[in-house]
Symmetry: none
Subunit: 139 residues, 4 copies
């Protein structure tokens, strides 16, 4: 996940949000090790949004699945998802919007978006990833 | 959120509690960045009350909505609210009593109150905020 | 440490600061268990001041001595003070301004003040404690 | 600190780094409450750089002075700076490169840069801030 790719993802996700009339988004892009490459929080977003976006993306990398899949697990076993989040230090937010980024078969990072509904957040992440010519894994 | 405004909110919230015969209240007033401006814990309140009041107010700022709205989300998706709280460091208490403070359209801080029922805590927060000539957002 | 006493300490410490021309102060008053009773952060104080004032007062209670004595220990054994702070969760700031409050022989709480020089912070704490008819222990 | 201003700061700081031949930089821009507005980590930067840049900027806001001033304090009282950092949760990196951003007299945020020498990091932060028409406070 080089910085230019991350910047492309951020810009395209935000453009998606503006075209779709979404609330202010926060976009966080992580490398495969879970470390921040780029982040932007739009005006009007509340103060916890970086951490929530980070938690969506980091949790996806931590469990190796998009946060939509982790939400499905939480619906069945909330105690597991809560405990897994605690085990990894808190950064696991199990609702859609945390999307793995693949280049073919290779995992190259993750995107976390928060601000509108979780479904809309995820759609913005997918738009951003695809604009960079990469593949999004939402679950 | 200057200190005199915060002190006015604390005093008026406590006066509301005493007139209404509420149990001992703890009142925490934060600036828009979530940092303490003023706090008072009434005699007889238990030892965890500062942290609970702080968590009501901080959680409201983190998510951009009064803690009553976050309770509604927790009723539907407890795992999300638990995870969001962990992601932001623990300070998110999702029951009424965490109220955003606005000066017109501008967010100027938050108030967290705990000690009586959540509904009564919230009423005291609203009374305090309105006594300062500001607008309360409970959800 | 009842709330009225804590309020008296806060008000007198702040009055001392204003008379002495000190920078904006943050005053935190804790009960003997280390829990917040009252706090005020004056306009213009930076955002970390509540935590630093809390750390001065909590550290004083944790080690049973005013923070001036802990500074003396830090000058000799910085590794001990750093480790003790980590052991208790981080809230131990070893410079003057964390003052134990006694009522005769009985420990009734602690005051932490930050904002000006450490010596001036401590003087404000002592002024506040004495205005409440109590005894200050700075080391 | 709106996002467009933050993006201007990031772009100008990075341009400064490239013109000056600096190592890969990480640039973090915070609002006055210490919350991320924008961040970029250049290719080749090591994995801890976001946290270090964040710590330079957050520490500047927490203490109300640029991180160069905190380094001077650390040279005299390392135990204080270590303890203050622990008290605020760890995010305090006391070397140059954490710069307060002012719009006239008003504090509007902070920038943290890391990657090259601390002096060069700071110069990049100042260049970014001035490119946005704002004033940099390095100590």
């Amino acid at each position: 996940m080089d910085l230019e790719t991350a910047r492309t993802i951020v810009a395209a996700a935000r453009a998606h949000g503006q075209e779709a009339g979404l609330k202010p988004l926060t976009v966080v892009v992580l490398d495969p090790g879970g470390h921040v490459v780029a982040a932007e929080r739009e005006d009007g977003a509340s103060i916890g949004r970086f951490e929530i976006g980070f938690g969506k993306a980091y949790g996806a990398l931590a469990l190796g699945q998009g946060s939509r899949a982790t939400m499905a697990r939480a619906e069945q076993q909330a105690y597991f998802v809560g405990a897994a989040g605690a085990a990894i230090g808190g950064a696991l937010v199990p609702v859609p919007g945390g999307v793995l980024v693949q280049d073919g078969d290779r995992l190259v990072g993750a995107v976390g978006i928060t601000g509108d509904t979780s479904d809309h957040d995820e759609a913005a992440a997918v738009a951003g990833i695809e604009a960079a010519g990469l593949t999004a894994r939402v679950d």
